[in-house]
Subunit: 206 residues, 2 copies
């Protein structure tokens, strides 16, 4: 029996640059994990290719997939659906390959509930850590602006608590390197390699 | 307040090459973690230097340290004590630096009980995974030899279950690279970086 692959989920607040980091990861040719392309009902933007950037489908097709349990996770934003088709993820994991998802925070929590042994990485905006420094040094923001920024930061930190790792998106290359380090490290977890060892012993004893 | 450093524990079965891997790690000059030198009552071997390879102390001094709670972990092998002085580890962690221990499995379990948030890496002999292959291809071992090897492997896998990561010591450089990857990755754990974020918010709100 092939050992099931590992599910890697990259998520984070809107606008943090998840898509840019994911593209930079898959622009490299040395990845030993597969990208699961998302599905959406929104129109392709100029330059976007069906089956590369997204699977572009009709609202009817997407809703039928939801009904028949065909989506690992999905959400509706501004009247359009976005989600991850279950079949590709399951077949790839079953074949022993690791799968990489780049999805919104709502979707990530749906996946976490179904696949608690996945690796969940939260991409944080650099200004979450630089916020205080900047506010102090600038000293020109109105209190309501500062309060709003702090409230946003608090909300993002609360989201982070549901993840395994936090990676600051200070520079795309740094974030890419950190995410790949996490993936390499997670493959060495005792809970993940134990089946290999137990399998070996089982076969030896049989 | 400085964030407390991370405790990294390298252990594994006798003869697996823990010392060689640890020396190879600290032969590199780019480490951002500190080696905690072990203490022993055995005689220095030719070439071993006090305060570099070990702290060499008398049996009386070692036993006094045990009595006064001065050892993080210790064990007795062949009438000699081996252990980790608590003071250096605590002071270094308190200063915010990460500390690396290379210790026997008994000691590692003592440390795990006291510091469950440490990172515990189990170094496995390459033959644990190659065992089956070799036994099949060779086909010349007597059954009692095979059984003994399997029993040893089972024992080592049981030990492994108490660790976070398993690294095969197939080649020293590979093992070193994997251990350093684990350390870099563990620094990105949400549970470890959360205090930084919460601290920042606390300071902002004050």
């Amino acid at each position: 029996m092939t050992k099931r692959g590992m599910l890697i989920v990259l998520s984070g607040p809107s606008g943090v640059g998840k898509g840019t980091v994911r593209k930079a990861i898959f622009d490299q040719n040395n990845n030993d994990f597969q990208y699961s392309i998302s599905m959406t009902t929104r129109q392709p933007r100029p330059g976007e290719v069906d089956g590369v950037d997204y699977f572009f489908v009709s609202k009817e097709e997407f809703e039928e997939r939801i009904q028949t349990g065909g989506m690992l996770e999905y959400a509706k934003y501004v009247d359009n659906y976005y989600g991850t088709p279950l079949k590709y993820v399951n077949e790839t994991l079953d074949s022993g390959k690791d799968v990489f998802l780049e999805i919104e925070v709502n979707g990530a929590m749906q996946v976490r509930a179904k696949s608690p042994d996945g690796v969940f990485v939260f991409l944080t905006p650099p200004d979450l850590m630089e916020l205080k420094q900047r506010l102090i040094h600038r000293g020109t923001d109105a209190m309501d602006v500062i309060n709003k920024r702090v409230a946003t930061a608090v909300g993002e930190i609360k989201m982070m608590q549901n993840y395994d790792y936090a990676v600051v998106n200070d520079e795309v290359n740094n974030a890419v390197e950190k995410i790949k380090t996490i993936i390499r490290s997670e493959r060495l977890r005792v809970t993940r390699v134990m089946p290999d060892y137990l399998g070996m012993l089982g076969e030896m004893n049989s």
